[in-house]
């Protein structure tokens, strides 16, 4: 036997050994569920406690500008952004939700007196490596504040460290950054709202006994806080029917980093594993992933709107279309086109020596095919 055949066999042996040992290290699914639930409870408790502790007067500057931004389209008083520079990163340019958020930031920045050229932009492309590269590029431009929108919460610690060293404050959008104020949705609250809406429809349909499976299309890569966006949904069901009923019928799937393709593949796998199930409740972290899920159901020939209760998160342009086409039953509206009304007042606070609150949650509404025109004209 030649030398490199021997080396080849050794190599193969190493790969199999590594494979076997790591597969052996896998935690049981039950253990993972417990950990998630514990984390959910801890994080919610922390969030509530901290929110209660916040004194509104301390953030009067932010609150005044926020109310102004929400009430009128007039320029901000005293042009707080004039002559300043900020940086904004997009989680994934081109996605309707992100376009709405950035459009809103641009609009409010202009109303606050900021120049278009002083708003630096970079697209993180749902890629942590690109995100890190962008963080460095923007840091070289020395903005006064960074609005950071990136999908993986753990990578954010490196970004926080770099900007902390440079003395540049960060405002985190939807995914937390250590030590930075958070702007976005209260993930547990919106998920719970979605859960309650789904329960309402389950009851209209004849009760929980008519449902075979509850599918949570999750995004573990987004970290624990983003996981609340589906765990809250589960919790609403548990509160209504009890864990003994809900646990056996709940399927948690990893829908990837929030894009349609990965969710599509995950949903196909889920459907293959439950060939006999017919009646479902489905939720996912955003409407891109929901798009992937629905298309997987249709491809599998198992799409029947009467047998699916589908609740989405966000209601961006994709979500609106899904609602209007009758693909989804309801969505929790995040109003991404209004994110700038929170972010730019927060930025302005920093630029003028004031502090924004540690948590800035958007107000949410349940949007259905029946009431969508009240919020969005076609």
């Amino acid at each position: 036997m030649s030398k490199f055949k021997i080396i080849s066999i050794l190599g193969l042996a190493i790969i199999f050994a590594v494979g076997i040992s790591f597969t052996g290290c896998q935690a049981e699914p039950e253990v993972i569920t417990e950990t998630v639930t514990e984390t959910v409870t801890e994080t919610v408790t922390e969030t509530v406690t901290e929110t209660v502790e916040v004194e509104e007067e301390a953030y009067a500057y932010y609150e005044t500008l926020k109310v102004h931004a929400q009430d009128t389209d007039d320029p901000y008083p005293d042009n707080p952004a004039e002559g300043h520079t900020i940086a904004y990163t997009d989680i994934m340019g081109g996605i309707p939700f992100c376009n709405n958020v950035y459009g809103s930031v641009q609009k409010e920045w202009e109303l606050a007196g900021g120049a278009d050229s002083d708003l630096y932009y970079a697209d993180n492309q749902y890629d942590a490596t690109v995100g890190l590269q962008n963080a460095d590029i923007l840091l070289a431009k020395e903005p006064e504040v960074l609005i950071w929108f990136q999908f993986d919460s753990k990578v954010n610690s490196i970004v926080a460290q770099k900007y902390g060293d440079a003395g540049i404050p960060i405002i985190a959008v939807d995914v937390p950054v250590p030590g930075a104020p958070f702007m976005g949705v209260n993930n547990f609250k919106v998920a719970y709202m979605a859960g309650e809406e789904a329960i309402k429809r389950v009851e209209e349909q004849g009760g929980i006994d008519t449902i075979d499976k509850i599918i949570l299309m999750q995004m573990p890569a987004g970290g624990e806080v983003v996981m609340l966006r589906s765990e809250g949904f589960y919790q609403a069901f548990v509160d209504e029917y009890g864990a003994d009923v809900i646990d056996p019928m709940t399927i948690r799937a990893d829908g990837g980093a929030g894009e349609a393709e990965q969710a599509n593949a995950a949903m196909s796998d889920v459907l293959t594993s439950i060939p006999d199930a017919e009646n479902f409740v489905l939720t996912s972290v955003n409407e891109q992933t929901m798009d992937g899920c629905i298309s997987a159901v249709q491809t599998a020939g198992r799409w029947d709107p009467d047998k699916w209760i589908v609740i989405t998160q966000g209601v961006d342009d994709v979500g609106k279309a899904q609602l209007r086409e009758g693909l989804t039953d309801a969505g929790v509206g995040y109003f991404p086109e209004r994110y700038g009304e929170y972010l730019i007042p927060a930025v302005s606070a920093y630029l003028n020596g004031e502090l924004p609150p540690p948590f800035m949650y958007v107000e949410n509404e349940i949007i259905t095919p029946e009431n969508i025109d009240e919020y969005y004209t076609e």
């Binding site: 790969i15 896998q26 993972i32 590029i137 753990k154």
Partner: protein, 324 residues
């Protein structure tokens, strides 16, 4: 003596490669001048240093992968390898394994991956595109399986140093990048083994008949490619502070683009390590400079594609002229 004598054809080829590399350098310099004139911060020390740090992990892989391409093969599994290595490193760190041992085990894993690819291509005889596209999915799938789809913190002093440490105020990944490029340059331009790789790329049968162990040389290039990708995965885990199953996703195309931009032929037998270096720099400078100018990513992609096609088309036109 006879070995050092160059035929007129060989001289022409050398001149051709040299002028290609000079053309690339000119493109790079034009870009540098353009971006430094249009963006105040582009030439700042912070920007240049961080740009080099961020490109180091894939630059290292590109240098070694150039050898694979010159030998007439390809390795698409580098991205999956990077993702898997970063996850294994993070799991080992989380389990309290010593940082040095983590590096050693991950490099061994990279070697095993390279050996597996080499085995498929040289022993079984599977086409390298098919073999490595297949293993790319396997490594990526394993990364998702081991991590349960989640990113895992990968912070320990030794690993931190690998991607974020400094020696004489120079980031360590840049030092690694320079060392590996220098080694690859010497190997490909001043060693018998390098000449064998070129010869195999030009004509594997003739090389075999002239006594070169074609399979062994190709096998070793895959082995080194696996190790380099594992090193890239370790550096990336260090740069980001996490192991992620998504690490390195799509990177194979960026790396191969940089290599092709550098003048390496997909069919083998043609290419220069120096060209790859400039290719990596051009891709990185283009992204950095355009992002500095607030240009949307779609336009950056268009620009990268246009530069790649334009430069490679220029090579082909000149190659045709040379043959005529």
């Amino acid at each position: 003596m006879a070995e050092n004598q160059e035929t007129p054809v060989r001289k022409k080829e050398k001149k051709f490669f040299l002028s290609n590399t000079i053309t690339l350098f000119i493109v790079l310099i034009v870009m540098l001048v353009f971006f430094s004139l249009t963006s105040e911060s582009f030439l700042s020390t912070y920007n240049l240093v961080s740009m080099l740090s961020n490109l180091s992990f894939y630059g290292i892989v590109a240098a070694v992968l150039t050898m694979v391409l010159i030998s007439g093969e390809i390795d698409f599994s580098i991205g999956g390898n990077i993702g898997l290595t970063s996850i294994i490193a993070a799991i080992l760190i989380e389990s309290g394994v010593n940082g040095w041992l983590v590096i050693l085990l991950c490099l061994l894993l990279g070697a095993a991956i390279g050996i597996f690819n080499g085995f498929l291509v040289t022993v079984i005889g599977v086409n390298s595109i098919i073999a490595t596209v297949g293993t790319m999915s396997v490594w990526r799938g394993l990364a998702y399986t081991f991590s349960d789809g989640q990113s895992i913190m990968a912070m320990t002093p030794v690993i931190d140093f690998l991607g974020r440490g400094k020696v004489l105020n120079i980031p360590f990944p840049i030092i690694l990048f320079i060392i590996i490029f220098a080694v690859c340059y010497v190997v490909m331009n001043h060693s018998k083994w390098g000449r064998k790789i070129y010869a195999i790329g030009v004509n594997p049968m003739a090389s075999f008949l002239s006594g070169i162990n074609v399979k062994q040389v190709k096998f070793l290039t895959f082995l080194f490619s696996g190790i380099a990708a594992a090193l890239g995965g370790l550096i990336l885990a260090s740069l980001s502070g996490v192991g992620m199953p998504q690490h390195g996703e799509g990177l194979e195309l960026t790396i191969i683009s940089a290599i092709l931009l550098g003048g390496t032929a997909l069919g083998g037998g043609r290419g220069q390590i120096l060209g790859t270096l400039v290719g990596v720099l051009i891709i990185s400078v283009l992204y950095n400079g355009l992002t500095m100018l607030n240009v949307y990513y779609y336009y950056v992609q268009i620009a990268q594609g246009v530069v790649l096609v334009a430069v490679v088309a220029t090579y082909e036109v000149r190659q045709k002229r040379l043959q005529e």
